[in-house]
């Protein structure tokens, strides 16, 4: 049975309570640093910050319905080699999943991090969020939360949370060391703090917070939210499969692609130092373009756009955790997340694998035997 | 072709027609048979059940007699049990170095000696290998076209001493039957035991085996055999077997030389067809006998 505590909210607002908790992590929790999203003073955006001074966490806002980037990449940078102290990182469930994938790919390490997760109600796209937040980001975050809790939903004016979030069946992380729970919790009174691992329990001990317990309604609340999202997700799979069911449709689907590679840069699990698409491999001879054009009379420029997405799917679909940063980053509004998650649902199911679920699960390609999938391999090794 | 002919007791009794037809058919095929002088019983299955040496001596006595005839001819035997017993002497003498001495010590009483110098052949062997079906075909006067013949070898013509055919899947009779223009009835029973040896002592057991054979022969026009015990067994017990099984299992049974004789145009008298017990009238009409 996991240990639970509570973060008192009474009399204060949610953000203040959370900020107090973060400060305590640094002060009482023996953390060397804290990675947490904060409103930056110069512009009203929320970015991950690495905080060592407890006083400098006062604009932290993990409630803001936005994540301009998947912070797993930042955690990877912090942990690729020993950093020399423990860091608490406050992440969304999808960020935790991405980080788990990166650790499996030897791009990071769990050794010196404490993963702190927040229940996630979804996020707006980067541009939408700026509009939504207006001048006071913190206030906007509370407004967003209020709307959700009150049943008004996540939509605001013509804005709504991103399709990736609508299709996300993991609003609560099961892999964090510490889970901050809001779903089904009386957040006017307190937030739930649940230690999911031994390291989490140790930390909880040190913080000396009042004991709490998981409210009865939490499970149901999570289930209800997940079931809505699964329904959305399955519809999305169906529509996307249909929209990309042959090569012509697929070409049309990806027709806007300009090879900016933003999606790849935004993708938390695309871990290559340098993508094959920017190496000499695709450095075609000028005469080659002409040859191709001659063969068909016309070719679309730039070339290799469909090929690019297919390659990325081949390399990464088994590791896709569905955060939607690819779509978020696309300048031409290609539904990249939709196709990625749709394909990933097939590839991951084929290997009975779920990206980001657990460190124990080896990535499919490391355990794949040539005798498997005899319909493809002939069944022999 | 000359042979020393050993008929054996059955051919003097229950198988008179086998004796007659053998002599007639072989004659018609140009083989010369000289009956073994003063032949005696081979010992049948009885001698072996009483005394091993006796079984050897009784059979060897006949071989010694044949050697005495000094004819440079093989001894030819139509009866499968006699064939087995005489052939066994040949075989055992080769395997057991002391046996010849013992046999001769006993035969001395009769003033005879056996030297292992005569070859024992079954009538079937002679028909197939010396006379050759191909040589019979041109001699056929009455074509037996359409006659379905169940060929029945029985055990002891084949086992353990058939050097001329397969022990398990015998085929040697087939070219003979075909040479006569008749058809071979497809069945699996040609080499199976008919139970004759048990008919007197374990009748119920024998009836089972006989019944199975007769049943499998249904569809054929007749059974042709080369063993007097089998022939007798198959024809004599058709009634009780039919009764026990509740179905009519009657079928004519002929000896091989009888069928050959018929085809060669020999008379039914020469072949003593009147002695067969199960020749139905329809069968006789068909072959106009």
């Amino acid at each position: 049975m996991a240990k639970t505590a509570k973060i008192d909210v009474k009399e204060q607002n949610l953000l203040t309570a959370l900020r107090g908790f973060f400060k305590a992590l640094l002060e009482d929790g023996d953390m060397e640093a804290l990675l947490v999203p904060q409103h930056l003073p110069m512009k009203n955006v929320v970015m991950p910050t690495l905080v060592t001074d407890p006083e400098k966490s006062n604009t932290a806002d993990p409630l803001a319905p936005v994540f301009p980037m998947n912070a797993a990449k930042m955690v990877s940078r912090l942990t690729r080699r020993p950093v020399g102290g423990r860091i608490a990182v406050v992440l969304r469930p999808c960020e935790i999943k991405a980080f788990i994938e990166l650790v499996k790919l030897k791009q990071g390490s769990m050794d010196e991090v404490i993963l702190v997760s927040m229940d996630c109600y979804g996020t707006y796209g980067n541009v939408d969020y700026t509009r939504f937040a207006g001048d006071d980001g913190a206030d906007a975050s509370l407004r967003f939360y209020e709307n959700v809790v009150s049943g008004k939903g996540t939509a605001w004016e013509d804005i709504d949370i991103s399709p990736a979030c609508k299709a996300c069946e993991h609003p609560v992380s099961e892999s964090a060391d510490l889970q901050i729970g809001m779903l089904g919790v009386d957040t006017k009174d307190h937030l739930l703090l649940k230690a999911m691992t031994g390291a989490g329990e140790d930390l909880l001990e040190k913080l000396g917070l009042p004991e709490g317990e998981e409210p009865e309604g939490r499970k149901k609340a999570i289930e209800d939210l997940v079931s809505d999202r699964v329904a959305y997700r399955d519809k999305m799979f169906e529509e996307t499969s249909e929209a990309t069911s042959d090569l012509n449709k697929l070409t049309a689907y990806l027709g806007n692609c300009v090879n900016c590679y933003n999606c790849r840069v935004a993708c938390p699990v695309c871990y290559c130092k340098e993508c094959v698409f920017v190496t000499d491999v695709f450095d075609h001879e000028p005469s080659q373009y002409l040859k191709w054009a001659k063969r068909k009379g016309l070719i679309k420029m730039p070339t290799d756009t469909v090929f690019y997405h297919m390659t990325r799917l081949a390399h990464m679909s088994t590791a896709c955790i569905g955060c939607g940063q690819c779509s978020n980053a696309c300048p031409n509004d290609i539904p990249v997340m939709e196709i990625f998650r749709t394909i990933a649902s097939y590839t991951q199911r084929a290997f009975d694998y779920e990206a980001g679920r657990s460190l124990e699960e080896e990535p499919p390609l490391s355990v794949f035997k040539e005798s498997e999938y005899s319909e493809v391999t002939g069944g022999k090794d | 072709m000359k042979y020393i002919y050993y008929p054996g007791c059955s051919l003097e009794g229950t198988a008179l027609e086998y004796d007659a037809s053998t002599r007639a058919a072989m004659g018609a095929l140009g083989a010369e048979l000289t009956e073994l002088n003063d032949w005696t019983c081979c010992g049948a299955s009885a001698a072996d059940a009483i005394s091993y040496l006796l079984s050897m001596v009784l059979a060897a006595r006949n071989l010694a007699l044949a050697e005495g005839m000094d004819m440079d001819a093989d001894i030819m035997i139509p009866c499968s049990a006699c064939y087995l017993n005489l052939r066994k002497v040949e075989d055992h003498v080769q395997q057991d170095g002391t046996l010849m001495g013992k046999i001769n010590e006993a035969l001395e009483e009769e003033g005879l000696a056996y030297n292992g110098g005569v070859k024992v052949r079954h009538l079937l062997d002679v028909m197939v290998n010396d006379i050759d079906p191909e040589a019979i075909a041109p001699l056929v006067k009455k074509n037996l076209a359409g006659l379905g013949v169940a060929v029945y070898y029985g055990c002891q013509a084949l086992r353990p001493y058939a050097t001329y055919d397969d022990h398990e899947q015998p085929r040697s009779l087939e070219p003979l039957i075909k040479a006569l223009g008749a058809d071979v009835h497809p069945w699996e029973m040609g080499a199976k035991c008919c139970g004759a040896a048990l008919m007197t002592t374990k009748k119920d057991v024998a009836m089972e085996l006989t019944g199975a054979l007769l049943k499998a022969a249904q569809g054929a026009d007749c059974i042709v055999t080369v063993c007097p015990m089998c022939e007798m067994n198959l024809e004599a017990f058709q009634e009780p077997v039919s009764k026990a099984r509740g179905e009519d299992l009657g079928i004519p049974v002929l000896y091989l030389p009888q069928l050959i004789g018929l085809a060669l145009g020999l008379s039914k008298k020469e072949l003593k067809l009147n002695l067969n017990l199960a020749l139905a009238d329809s069968f006789k009409q068909r072959l106009s006998i």
Partner: protein
């Protein structure tokens, strides 16, 4: 590279022949590999699937180091190795000289078809009017008299079956490349002398022979014949035996004096056959039987003519001879054929069944009834057909059939998706090999193969003439059953190979009573004739892994002999070929087109193709040659290359595989790296008669040409990497296996360190006092220990242990702690692990509760000490498979049945009055061991089978064991109070797991060492440079351990033999700047050729171990891992070229 002076002849090219040949060749010897068949591969060419993987895997025998000296494609298709000369349709006909220096004479039959010219188009077979059963498909299908011996060979040339051929000449006429030559023109020059006193014989022979185009002369007497012979030249003499005056035999004797090489064929009537046979012994070539019928005689003489005229005779000197003639299968239609084989079409042999499931088989792998092509629903396998049957002259077990049957039953299940019902009828299921028992259990429990312990007596039809077979049998309880099957598969047993006696006589080796090669003492490869070794099934049928082991043991002995005769030390430095450095030049491709002797002209226009080629960017020259496969053509190419500035060569001809060896030669003469040459096949595309428009043909030809150009352009060969080798070996374990391996290596001149943990050398053999064959392990032990101790190159550490080992092939470093506690670090290039096994301990059957309850090992010791007095024993009981062949120790220990038989026979011999009972599950008296089982039965030992679910029960009362067990035949209980109860507890590995960890190698679930591949690489670990042998691999007899130790030494020697080893030209490399160190490639590499060097922070490739498979390149997402010669750009270009012409 170091080349040993010395050569070996390997007779027989089945797996064991190939293994021996490769062993010797890899070590640097020159090998001549011959086979009497027109194809390579022996029986393996017919078998597509091997237990336990249920596929082939033969290619895994190909060299892993120095691999570029050998072909690297499917070994069932073909093989070439720089050091191996392959001669097919060839027999060894004479051998003289002494070990180390034999003169051998080889005779190669003509195949009528010029193998170099034949392009395998099949026109000849299309027009051939003769159909003959195809032995490749076990006679289930027909082929023509001119045929492909194996459908998948490379190169695949036709051959003529002269026995079936009617010499009609149709094929000769139609052959587009004029590869077929029946020599009719040549016949005019072939002079035949007919010697007969009868005019009519002379005249008719003359007339017939003249009609056939021969030149004929006659002589009416021996005297005349001899006179003619001394004056004129003849090629063949037909000689009558019975002539007045000088008879034929006398003439023959004198003729042999005048013209010893003139082939003489005797003519004889029936009465003088024996004389003719005598004449053969004096040197007659053959004999013909009178009276003559021209229809039979003429083909005979024509065949003789081909035999004499076109057979190539080759004489050569070799240091040793390895006999690997394999085995023949028992023909179930011979003898008493109770199963109707040959009579019922649905009764087939296991080999025929294997063909039935093969994709190249009669129904492309569909299992259909031969009688009517209906789907098969029920199959029965009958074991021991022609084996374990004294009436078939076979008091032996054929060893491999049980596993073969299980494999086939599983194949039937797999092919039919479980729909086919399978039953195996057996007496003892002999699953005595490593992992066999679990395979059997899986077949039974998971796949539903039914096992019935019963020997079926005969097969019949149902009497309905529908092809269905009726099988009747009595089960163990005596109940009779009748069951119908669609197919009956007979496990036809082993017989010695045809010609075994002749080979044995030629080589002076002794055969065993069944006609197999007799092996000596504790060796499985030494024959009675020094210098002549035996490999594989010629000394008794073996499964693949045993054959491979024994073949390597034979090559080790062959090599040791050559070495001991002084043939092994000399070093021949192969001339370093300096290739032109073209790395800085722009690609300049010279395209060479072969016109295939004009055959292709009607379907393709070479001028048009040439001008298209000239227009291609990188092509700087185009050269057309009439026939590249002829010497003239090849010389023309060489000449063209002289002084040509082209730095890439594209050859457009046929059959690219054939060119590998030629290209290397061309590379040397043109000083151009052969990696920069590419052969593409345009002949298949442009061959006439494909019903394709010329333009379409051109399009396809252009596609393959541009693919070739694309590939060549991107080629950037680097100098081949070499690694330095520490030419020393470490052997861990000082038992028989370890000592044998150590001696074998040291005898080749390399330093060996032998580490044994016990205080004395000897291991298990110390406690063994006699083998079932009557050999003395103690003598072997003493001999081995004394040799080891005296050997100047062997250092022995007893009472020592391994502390730590690191490194990789060629460069290992291992620390040991010696008896005195001192540490020492050893550098070595190879490691042999021979850590042995021990008898398993048991608590079953009240062991330990009574002094009368012993293990087989205890008994052995007691007998040696005189602790047991056989004369006093009234009753002895033995229980087999104690704690074995069931989980968790679900394997057969292989030697316990032998021990039980040995001890039972010993007791019976000492005291025939002793009642001996052996309780067993399956008696594992495989191979010729069966004889001892028969002997034990005859001696009156009572064998009682028991089921694993109903084991004997043992209790102890007043210190005496009481045993009760069910006798399944009698259906009642045994109650015994034996004076001795002996338990066969089997073998467990001694130190396996621990040592394995230290050396970074794997063990299996039972703790035995895990070989790289159970069949094809039985003594290798996955980790290259580490080898295993002896009981640590799996339970085995002393002789089997010795063979395995020799095999391990052989594998080690091929590494130690050179001070440097070259990697292949196709190896992987890492572009570190791109590498994100995700280590996927490390996990994925099947050869453990990669590791993450944490200090350098990079992925490192061991080029010696890398086999260039490309798995790493495939798994790497951003091409940080690449394969030389297969770079992405290059591959893309080739793909583009291939797609270029897709409309």
């Amino acid at each position: 590279m170091k080349k040993k002076i010395g050569s070996t002849l390997v007779v027989g090219s089945g797996i064991s022949g190939i293994r021996s040949a490769l062993d010797m060749a890899e070590q640097g010897y020159q090998v001549t590999l011959i086979d009497k068949e027109p194809h390579l591969g022996g029986v393996l060419t017919q078998l597509d699937y091997q237990f336990p993987t249920d596929h082939c895997g033969m290619c895994k025998m190909l060299p892993l180091v120095e691999r570029d000296s050998s072909s690297q494609y499917c070994l069932r298709k073909g093989l070439f190795h720089e050091n191996i000369d392959i001669m097919l349709s060839t027999e060894l006909v004479a051998m003289e000289g002494e070990p180390g220096k034999f003169q051998v004479t080889l005779r190669q039959k003509s195949s009528i078809v010029d193998q170099e010219r034949c392009i395998g188009c099949g026109e000849c077979a299309r027009v051939c009017p003769v159909e003959a059963p195809d032995p490749f498909n076990g006679g289930l299908t027909d082929r023509k008299a001119i045929y492909l011996p194996v459908p998948h060979n490379i190169p695949n040339a036709y051959v003529v079956d002269l026995d079936a051929c009617t010499h009609c000449g149709e094929c000769e006429k139609i052959c587009p490349t004029h590869a077929i030559d029946f020599g009719k023109e040549e016949r005019k020059k072939f002079r035949i002398l007919v010697v007969d006193d009868e005019l009519i014989v002379r005249d008719s022979l003359k007339e017939w022979l003249l009609d056939e185009g021969f030149d004929v002369d006659m002589a009416e007497s021996g005297t005349e014949a001899l006179e003619k012979m001394s004056k004129e030249h003849f090629h063949l003499k037909l000689l009558d035996i019975k002539m007045p005056g000088m008879d034929g035999v006398e003439v023959l004797k004198r003729a042999k004096e005048i013209r010893p090489d003139l082939p003489v064929v005797m003519m004889t009537a029936y009465a003088t056959v024996e004389t003719a046979v005598e004449a053969m012994k004096i040197g007659a070539h053959d004999y013909l039987m009178k009276p003559f019928d021209p229809d039979n005689l003429i083909p005979l003489i024509v065949n003789l003519y081909h035999d004499i005229q076109s057979a190539g005779v080759k004489e050569m000197e070799v240091g040793s001879v390895i006999l690997a003639g394999g085995f023949d299968s028992y023909d179930p239609s011979t003898g008493k054929d109770t199963y109707g084989y040959g009579l019922f079409p649905n009764v087939v042999t296991s080999l025929q069944f294997e063909r039935m499931v093969s994709g190249t088989g009669p129904n492309q792998g569909k299992i259909l009834r031969p009688s009517d092509g209906k789907e098969v629903k029920k199959i029965a396998w009958f074991q021991c057909v022609g084996s374990r049957d004294q009436q078939a002259d076979a008091d032996f077990c054929s060893s491999a059939c049980c596993m073969f049957a299980i494999k086939e039953a599983l194949l039937a299940k797999e092919k039919s998706e479980g729909q086919i019902d399978t039953t195996i009828f057996y007496m003892d299921m002999r699953t005595f090999g490593k992992d066999f028992q679990r395979y059997r259990d899986r077949a039974e429990k998971e796949s539903g193969v039914h096992f019935e312990r019963s020997r079926v007596h005969s097969v019949e039809t149902t009497g309905k003439d529908d092809g269905t077979l009726r099988v009747a049998y009595a089960d163990t309880t005596g109940t009779k059953h009748e069951e119908d099957f669609d197919l009956v598969v007979l496990a036809a047993g082993q017989r010695p190979p045809t010609g075994a006696e002749e080979v044995a006589e030629t080589c002076g080796v002794v055969l065993n009573p069944w006609g197999f090669c007799q092996v000596e003492g504790f060796s499985l490869s030494r024959t009675s004739s020094e210098g002549v070794l035996v490999g594989g099934s010629f000394s008794g049928l073996r499964d693949i892994s045993e054959s491979v082991i024994q073949a390597s043991s034979a090559s080790l002995e062959a090599s040791r002999l050559i070495h001991s005769k002084g043939g092994g030390l000399a070093e021949e430095v192969s001339p370093e070929t300096g290739f032109r450095d073209v790395s800085r030049e722009m690609p300049q491709v010279l395209a060479v087109l072969c016109k295939c002797g004009g055959t292709l002209s009607e379907s393709a226009d070479f001028d048009e193709i040439s001008s298209w080629l000239e227009a291609q960017g990188s092509v700087t020259g185009v050269h057309a040659i009439d026939s590249l496969c002829t010497h003239e053509g090849w010389d023309e190419l060489k000449e063209t290359l002289q002084g040509n500035s082209a730095n890439r060569i594209l050859i457009a001809s046929c059959m690219p595989y054939v060119y590998a060896r030629k290209l290397r030669e061309l590379g040397r003469s043109a000083e151009l790296n052969p990696e920069l040459m590419e052969v593409v096949d345009i002949r298949t595309l442009a061959f006439p008669g494909r019903d394709t428009e010329k333009e379409a043909v051109h399009q396809e030809v252009r596609a393959v040409l541009s693919m070739g150009i694309g590939k060549l352009k991107g080629m950037d060969p680097l100098p081949v990497a070499t690694s330095r080798i520490v030419q020393k070996a470490l052997v861990v374990g000082g038992g028989i296996a370890g000592m044998t391996a150590g001696l074998a290596i040291a005898d080749h001149g390399f330093e060996v360190t032998l580490v044994e943990k016990a205080a004395e050398l000897g291991g298990n053999a110390r406690t063994l006092h006699r083998t079932i064959e009557g050999h003395s392990p103690q003598e072997l032990l003493e001999e081995s220990i004394s040799k080891v101790e005296k050997h100047p190159l062997i250092r022995t550490h007893t009472g020592a242990k391994i502390i730590y080992s690191q490194g990789h092939v060629g460069n290992f470093s291992t620390s040991i702690e010696k008896e005195d506690g001192q540490g020492e670090t050893l550098d070595h290039g190879v490691t042999v692990l021979a850590t042995g096994g021990i008898e398993a301990k048991t608590e079953s059957y009240s062991y330990g509760e009574s002094e009368a309850i012993l293990t087989q090992h205890d008994l052995e010791e007691k007998l040696a000490e005189g602790g047991v007095e056989p004369a006093n024993l009234k009753t002895v009981a033995m229980i087999q498979c104690v704690d074995s062949r069931e989980e968790p120790r679900n394997y057969c220990s292989r030697i316990c049945c032998q021990s039980a038989l040995k001890n039972a026979l010993f007791f019976k011999k000492q005291n025939p009055e002793t009642d001996i009972y052996i309780f067993y599950r399956d008696m594992m008296s495989y191979g010729f061991m069966e004889t001892y089982y028969s002997e034990a039965r005859k001696a009156g030992v009572i064998f009682v089978p028991y089921d694993v679910g109903q084991k004997p029960e043992v209790s102890v009362e007043d210190g005496r064991p009481r045993l009760s067990a069910l006798d399944p035949i009698l259906g009642r209980e045994w109650l015994l109070e034996p004076d001795l109860l002996v338990l066969s507890t089997g073998v467990v590995p001694d130190a396996g797991r621990e040592v394995a960890e230290q050396f970074g190698v794997e063990v299996n679930q039972d703790g035995f060492y895990q070989e790289a591949e159970s069949k094809w690489r039985p003594v290798d670990f996955i980790k290259e440079g580490v080898f295993m042998c002896g009981l640590a691999h799996s339970p085995r007899s002393i002789a089997e351990s010795v063979a395995m130790a020799e095999a391990a030494a052989q594998r080690a020697l091929r590494i130690l033999n050179s001070d440097r080893l070259a990697s292949g030209s196709v190896v992987a490399e890492v572009r570190h700047s791109l590498c994100a160190l995700c280590e996927r490639c490390v996990a994925f590499c099947p050869y453990e050729a990669r590791h993450h060097d944490e200090d350098e922070e990079m992925i490192v490739v061991n080029e010696l171990m890398c086999q260039g498979c490309g798995s790493c390149a495939a798994v790497c997402p951003n091409s940080a891992s690449v394969l030389r010669g297969y770079r992405d750009q290059q591959v893309f270009e080739v793909i583009d070229a291939a797609l270029e012409n897709v409309v």
